[in-house]
């Protein structure tokens, strides 16, 4: 299929999300659309998939202009889409999910299970995507779930163009490599792919041609031979340093000591299983690992939102078991939560209110239980200037800000009060290149003032860029602590538990564990 966009424009009131976008996807081509968050990628994609109606401009398929009034039209026209957030029904089988909404039925509405299974097997075979049609989706690893989404998209009546929206955000390095292989083989078999991403390496690795959009406009057409710096400059509109300048760390006294931490979740599974970890003043410890291996629980335990079932946490040498989050925050714990919208911001609150969310009771922001609006506002004006938060005013709701600016609000909040230890979980997730650069530099500056930083990230690039020491977490335990110059492959293997049973286990967890668990820690 040949897809052509001519002068595609989408306006929301006075705001132009996409402005006169021209773009051609040739048959069998992988066409990357590169842009920062808020550049207009999602709007573009939603117009292509029939979710939004263009204000003006044309979409042509094989030279014929088309107009979609809903995703159904787009699917009928041969467009398949894999969303960033999977749209699978967890307890259903792979075959059921693939045919969700267009079930094969026999007479009387009986599901034709056999036909559905066969259809999945056919598609899997044709494109070389291995899938067990009977597996239950929620039991599958994230990478395989994504494969289900791809097969689902390809199972449309005549899918010839696949839109992949930030498909690598949730994958492990190995799964990313696999996905890129799949994309290549799909393209070879004639499927056109529109690949939406802000990750330069992947785009470079797989795209045939690259369109960069910024503020709703096409600003560059690049070849995959373009350097990362070129791409980043086009995205941001100025030269960007991708490398963070930093001096070697000078670790001093311990700021965070985690000993034998165990958390049993509601399902009775150990989310943390005797985890040990130290962070010293003046160093950034990168915690690498595939998401869901206990990072979330660890962060919540350090803040005090989650009470461990066993083990100790000491901050600044003092056991904090009996300290509530408010106390720990007051004592200098900074916390950047991984899920910004859920845990970091009250998005309905103004920027100003969010900037004092964990200080609203302290002077000068409140006196005798009354909020001092002027003081809150002054803090907001200062922070907006210092942290370059792009907002129309301090009174705008946080929801109106872009992801990167929302994250800057959180950073500003945590960096504007005395701190001794910072837990930064996925600090640049969904944040554009420019803001990432800013946040990375702030974290290093922060380290240099003597704060201990625990950086939790599922992106190895980020870990490599910032960490002075890398700890790898797998199944609730630290399976290895390595230097920042350790090769990617080694860490990648640790992340999936491949090197377990060897030195790593013995090195970080020398105890005879069963007894420890039975007797518990300070609980």
């Amino acid at each position: 299929m040949r897809l052509e966009l001519k002068g595609l424009t989408k306006k929301f009131g006075s705001f132009t999300a996409d402005d006169d976008i021209d773009l051609v996807v040739e048959p069998g081509q992988i066409h990357a659309v590169l842009g920062e968050n808020g550049a207009g990628k999602s709007t573009l994609m939603n117009m292509l998939y029939g979710i939004l109606k263009p204000t003006s401009g044309e979409i042509l398929i094989d030279g014929e202009p088309v107009s979609f009034s809903g995703p159904g039209d787009a699917i009928a026209a041969g467009i398949g889409m894999v969303h960033q957030h999977f749209k699978l029904v967890g307890p259903f089988s792979v075959a059921d999910n693939v045919h969700l909404g267009r079930e094969h039925t026999l007479a009387g509405g009986v599901l034709a299970a056999k036909a559905a299974r066969q259809a999945v097997l056919d598609v899997s075979e044709r494109y070389g995507l291995r899938l067990d049609p009977d597996a239950i989706c929620e039991d599958l690893p994230v990478g395989v779930q994504q494969r289900v989404e791809i097969v689902k998209a390809l199972s449309g009546p005549k899918t010839e163009l696949l839109i992949l929206d930030e498909p690598t955000a949730v994958l492990t390095p190995a799964e990313i490599a696999e996905l890129l292989d799949i994309m290549r083989s799909l393209a070879e078999s004639g499927t056109s792919i529109l690949f939406i991403s802000h990750k330069l390496k992947e785009v470079q690795a797989v795209a045939d041609t690259i369109t960069v959009i910024r503020r709703g406009k096409v600003v560059a057409e690049l070849e995959p031979t373009a350097s990362e710096a070129e791409m980043a400059a086009a995205m941001v509109g100025r030269a960007v340093t991708l490398q963070v300048d930093k001096t070697p760390a000078e670790p001093a006294e311990p700021r965070l000591e985690v000993k034998d931490l165990t958390v049993v979740n509601a399902a009775g599974v150990k989310a943390l299983d005797g985890l040990n970890l130290n962070v010293h003043s003046g160093e950034i410890v990168g915690l690498a690992g595939v998401e869901g291996n206990g990072q979330t629980e660890l962060a919540r335990c350090i803040l005090g939102l989650l009470k461990p079932d066993a083990g100790h946490i000491a901050i600044d040498g003092a056991d904090v078991h009996h300290h509530d989050p408010a106390r720990r925050i007051a004592d200098g714990l900074g916390y950047i939560p991984e899920d910004r919208g859920r845990d970091g911001l009250v998005t309905e609150f103004s920027v100003a209110e969010n900037l004092v969310l964990n200080q609203y009771r302290d002077e000068p922001f409140a006196k005798n239980g009354v909020v001092d609006a002027a003081a809150v506002r002054k803090r907001a004006v200062d922070s907006i200037a210092e942290f370059d938060i792009r907002t129309q005013s301090p009174d705008e709701p946080a929801a109106s800000l872009s992801g990167g600016n929302q994250q800057k609000v959180i950073i500003a909040r945590e960096f504007s009060r005395p701190r001794r230890l910072l837990v930064a979980a996925q600090p640049t997730r969904g944040v554009d290149v420019g803001a990432t650069e800013f946040i990375h530099n702030r974290l290093v500056t922060e380290r240099d003032t003597g704060t201990g930083i625990l950086l939790i990230s599922s992106e190895l690039d980020e870990i490599y860029a910032l960490a002075d020491r890398i700890a790898v977490i797998y199944n609730g335990r630290i399976v290895g602590e390595v230097a920042p110059d350790t090769p990617r492959e080694v860490i990648g293997r640790l992340m999936v538990g491949a090197d377990l049973g060897g030195d790593a286990d013995a090195e970080t967890d020398p105890r005879t564990r069963p007894d420890d668990d039975a007797n518990g820690g300070d609980r």
């Binding site: 408010a326 969310l357 239980g369």
Partner: protein, 427 residues
């Protein structure tokens, strides 16, 4: 449906082809009127409710209905009688709630006192008073993300608390009345705190627990009235002792004429609304309530005690509902309280809070509207069925709760900031 896959671009862009350089005020206002924003949705909900009410009035009136049986023979009969019925019914509601035109004539002729003119307004305000309190009780909890269905039970306890102090202590009025009011607030607060504490400590959903507590409160009331402590010494019916004169809420307009029953509780209610507004928008407690209501996760991450916020908000809400109970038991004068005194004020508070969009100012306005409907319906019966006020309230709230319905019926535009939604995050 893919029928219009090939339709040419929509007409809207052409329609807005020649926009004036700057939209004038009238134009902006005109656009505002046809937009589904929260103010206009409320206005249109009221209009639609009165419209549907008119249809139901016509359908339920036997005489008018009979004229429709020969509609095609003599349509003017049906139309005229429908028109007269609807006009008279709404006029009667107006006269019962705002101003009685007959009384006005008599006043102009010198046969009625000025106080007589104020009687409908007085009744409206009297009926609105408990609704202000229960509306605030529900609305405040809304803001913390809690659905306080339990205002009825909290009101009942407030009623008993105020009553107990009101008849059992022998004190001068300056002390007795405030003490009785405070007792009502505290009793309501104590009862209201229960679902909050249960939610904070065990995660029990406040909707379930407060519904159950309503039943407990009602049967406690039935039992309590029968006890020697509460039961009337002079009457054998199931009615309590009356409160002492020194604990009775003084009327506001009594000096203007007889039967002007609106009392000091109205002033307390308006003060409570102002205080609630201040609390929500200016205090650190209100900051916490709103933060927790919008996003409990982020609030907990910022070090706020979500559970304690739930408990204290529910206690505060219970205190407001308890004040409604005090307004009832200290306002009924010599009669004493029966199992019926609380009516459904607590449940009506939910609809008041919805209509007022959980904002103190809106709640006061909604309470006045519902108070007017009740006063109007009471005085307009039996020509107008007394249930008309409940019916209109229900229809209004139905439309408020489903703004998309109003938008679809009247073909309103989508406002800039998206459709209005209710803050009922408690579910």
């Amino acid at each position: 449906m893919s029928t219009d896959t090939a339709t040419p671009p929509a007409e809207q862009p052409d329609a807005a082809e020649n926009p004036p350089p700057r939209p004038g005020f009238t134009q902006l206002f005109g656009r505002y009127l046809i937009e589904a924003n929260s103010v206009m949705v409320t206005v249109y909900s009221l209009l639609l409710a009165f419209l549907i009410g008119a249809v139901l009035l016509i359908v339920s009136d036997e005489n008018v209905r009979s004229t429709y049986t020969y509609f095609f023979a003599r349509p003017q009969d049906a139309l005229t009688s429908s028109w007269i019925l609807v006009r008279d019914s709404y006029l009667a509601l107006f006269e019962g709630a705002i101003l009685n035109l007959n009384t006005l004539e008599r006043f102009q002729a010198g046969t009625a006192e000025f106080g007589d003119l104020l009687r409908p307004i007085s009744e409206t305000l009297l009926n609105a008073t408990p609704l202000i309190f229960t509306g605030l009780a529900v609305g405040l909890a809304f803001r913390a993300g809690l659905f306080n269905i339990g205002a009825q039970g909290q009101l009942i306890f407030g009623m008993l608390g105020a009553l107990a102090v009101g008849f059992s202590l022998n004190l001068p009025a300056v002390v007795h009345l405030p003490l009785a009011i405070v007792a009502g607030a505290l009793a309501g607060a104590a009862f209201g705190a229960i679902p909050g504490v249960l939610k904070a400590t065990t995660g029990a959903h406040e909707v379930i627990s407060s519904i159950m507590l309503n039943n407990i409160a009602f049967f406690f009331l039935v039992w309590a009235i029968g006890t020697g402590f509460f039961h009337s010494e002079t009457k054998s019916e199931l009615v309590t002792k009356p409160v002492d004169e020194s604990a009775t809420l003084p009327t506001l307009l009594g000096w203007l004429g007889a039967g002007l029953r609106v009392n000091l509780a109205l002033i307390v209610g308006l003060a409570a609304a102002v205080f609630t507004w201040w609390l929500l928008s200016r205090s650190t407690f209100g900051f916490r309530i709103r933060a927790v209501g919008f996003n409990a996760h982020a609030s907990a991450t910022a070090g706020m005690h979500v559970g304690r916020t739930y408990a204290s908000t529910m206690a505060f809400a219970g205190g407001l509902a308890g004040l409604a109970g005090a307004a009832l038991s200290l306002g009924v004068g010599s009669s004493g309280v029966t199992t019926n005194t609380a009516l459904e004020y607590g449940f009506d508070g939910i609809t008041v809070a919805l209509l007022g969009r959980a904002r103190p100012g809106g709640i006061v306005a909604a309470a006045l509207l519902f108070g007017a409907l009740k006063a109007g319906a009471l005085s307009a019966q039996p020509d107008v069925p007394v249930d008309i006020s409940t019916l209109l309230q229900a229809i209004i709230v139905l439309f408020i709760a489903a703004p998309a319905l109003v938008k679809a019926i009247l073909h309103l535009r989508t406002p800039r900031g998206g459709m209005v939604t209710l803050e009922a995050k408690g579910w």
